[in-house]
Symmetry: C2
Subunit: 252 residues, 2 copies
């Protein structure tokens, strides 16, 4: 898509791979970035193993404009993201005195001990830029084109809101949707023709289960692009293709 930037997301944590916890962060990150003209082009989920994190970070940060990570920055033994990011960049993981002081002050005010384990949360790779956000004591950080965030969704969202201002943006990506009572097999040929006529537009076709919470119609077409006129034109063509075949279709 013209004049957009690319991003990857790296979700770190055994719990996501084992199905103990379903990721709630990717969709929020993707939508937040998309309106700013940054498209998520790849996502990986890796376990809490340093070599796996290092390999993924180095591959993804070189391939895409931005890399966003979530998870593994808490105080427990399986929180190894900052050590791993430091290793990926070949630098040390060092104490960030301002962050240390901030957490220390906060915990003291609550009467909670600032344990050596908790102090690990005040570390970040040498050269990292700490990024504070409203309401979050533990900040995220940036090193080069890599942004490191928490895994807990509420905290991740706070961190991302603080990160947004640090990003270059592209042309905002807009969405439109058409819901239709048509079998994908009946409309596929027309859809392919329309897609070929609009190479800068992304047309997705998503059949719905009977118990879908997204639509009562059999299929949803999602139309994405940076040019509003071309999105409208594409939608009109899809609606016409459905109706020409005698199928009910609406712009949703």
């Amino acid at each position: 898509m013209k004049n957009t930037l690319s991003a990857a997301v790296l979700l770190i944590g055994n719990e996501l791979l084992s199905g103990s916890i379903e990721d709630k962060n990717l969709a929020h990150i993707a939508k937040t970035l998309e309106v700013r003209g940054i498209r998520v082009r790849e996502t990986r989920i890796v376990p809490d193993i340093e070599s796996e994190i290092v390999d993924a970070v180095n591959h993804l940060r070189n391939k895409y404009d931005y890399l966003f990570t979530t998870g593994g920055i808490g105080p427990t033994h399986d929180d190894i993201t900052s050590d791993s990011i430091a290793a990926a960049f070949g630098v040390s993981n060092v104490i960030q005195q301002d962050v240390f002081d901030g957490i220390n002050t906060y915990l003291s005010s609550k009467g909670v001990e600032f344990t050596p384990a908790a102090q690990r949360m005040a570390y970040a790779p040498q050269g990292a830029e700490i990024i504070y956000s409203d309401q979050s004591i533990v900040p995220g950080y940036r090193i080069d084109n890599v942004f490191v965030m928490a895994g807990v969704p509420r905290i991740m969202r706070l961190m991302l809101s603080g990160i947004i201002a640090h990003l270059k943006t592209g042309l905002s990506i807009q969405n439109a949707a058409i819901h239709a009572n048509v079998g994908e097999n009946e409309i596929a040929a027309a859809l392919e023709t329309i897609q070929h006529q609009h190479p800068d537009i992304d047309i997705g076709s998503y059949p719905q289960d009977k118990d879908s919470t997204i639509s009562d119609y059999r299929v949803v077409f999602v139309v994405k692009g940076t040019d509003t006129d071309e999105i409208e034109q594409t939608c009109t063509e899809i609606l016409k293709a459905c109706m020409d075949g005698g199928h009910e279709a609406i712009r949703a």
Copy 2:
């Protein structure tokens, strides 16, 4: 973890990367495999771009015992999984006559035309073994250690149920959980000691938001392994560590 097999999951589709749709398949696949001693060790989400799918398939099928893919096997222009899997293996994507006949019979009985687009669903890479499952007209398939499934969750589950019998299994991985009202920073040191004493056990520590649907407690510890006695022993030690610190904790 001793006597277990490894797997990767490749989720294919622009809609997952853009946040239009949240994946509902990974957790089900992971849990289904885990009780059969197969651990998901990596997951990737890639867009509907052949070169991206080919690279991911070739990397993951060589690194892990099994690779499971979801998505991209429908009739529309963005359904390019079978073409891509064939390219990854360096073979042709060829018609599977039995599958073709089955879909044709089904659609005829419904009075629906079997369009050229729909006929693409009857293709699979040369050498693939078609895997039928109850109630699903379109089957999944296997080629070498790669299993290809639909993206729609209901259909994916049917396909996976048919695939299970084709898998070698390892020692079943069991789970236990402890819920505790303790800050992670207060328990992290004890938890690390316990983890080091049980290297074949995976201990995860997951802080809960106030609106968590998983637990009313502040943190959930998940204990995984293949040896029931060692899981029990580990749980007992975690409970003791919490209680010794004066923190409420229960075996959930």
